[in-house]
Symmetry: C2
């Protein structure tokens, strides 16, 4: 088990694009009744099964296991809610941190999110120039919620941040 | 992935007891919105994470992975609904089949179920003398439903089979 502590931001501009190459992610969720998350993810030829507990402050328990690609494909088709989350993920090391930028496609095209993982909730992070508004804790930006309320369905009233 | 095809029965009498030794199982479920099942199980010192799809006829897809004991314990405590399912499982080989008898304790004390796994839904199974009424497909006997509606809460009207 790991404790996941992360901060999440919108992204502004394109200056980050030259810093990394994206990898394609496809993931789906088994709809749960509570705040737990059960995620099936495929990155390249590798499947992953990830369970997360409820968020407490900005941290949550996380359990992740590699699984066979065929299992992940079957779970996505038979067990997960649609649409799946499709995105390119860019990993950008900056000092002691690694920024992950998710550029969504499919039903969430137009959304760009940057995440940074901390080892301690109080840790100070220097924000690169392409970091925009912080959205840590805003449930609209949870990947699991982007299945039921994809970015394309948001109205302008949902937030000034939609361009 | 495996396809699980099984038949389930009530158990009558004690003749089966001399045939096997029970092992203690503790398991819990992450409550899902659909017919999928996400189960965390501990047998002895080993944890397991199991996902099952919706039942189609008497078969359903099953994905099972061994996980560290500490992960299973943390998942039970943080992610799963209570009460947990506690039982002793007895494995009894009979010809080409293995019968599994679950003797429940805790909130489901008094319930005894026998299951046999088939390779084909049409396969003929000889029933031992200690096999009672068939309850295959009766949702009350799904382990996941025994969390929310434990056997101890059933009234006599729920079924003549409760002793």
């Amino acid at each position: 088990m790991a404790k996941e502590i992360e901060r999440k931001f919108l992204v502004q501009g394109d200056a980050w694009r030259s810093l990394a190459t994206g990898r394609y992610y496809c993931q789906g969720y088994i709809p749960t009744q509570g705040k737990q998350t059960v995620r099936v993810r495929i990155i390249g030829e590798q499947g992953y099964l990830t369970l997360k507990g409820p968020t407490v402050g900005i941290s949550r328990s996380e359990f992740e296991y590699p699984i066979p690609l065929a299992d992940a494909q079957a779970m996505l088709a038979e067990l997960c809610e649609q649409p799946f989350i499709e995105k390119y993920r860019y990993r950008i090391p900056m000092g002691e941190f690694v920024w992950e930028i998710d550029e969504f496609s499919g039903e969430n095209q137009g959304l760009l999110l940057a995440e940074v993982e901390l080892t301690d909730p109080e840790q100070v992070v220097e924000l690169p120039s392409w970091i925009g508004q912080e959205v840590t804790g805003d449930p609209r930006y949870y990947n699991s919620n982007l299945v039921t309320q994809p970015f394309k369905t948001w109205s302008m009233a949902d937030g000034a941040e939609k361009q």
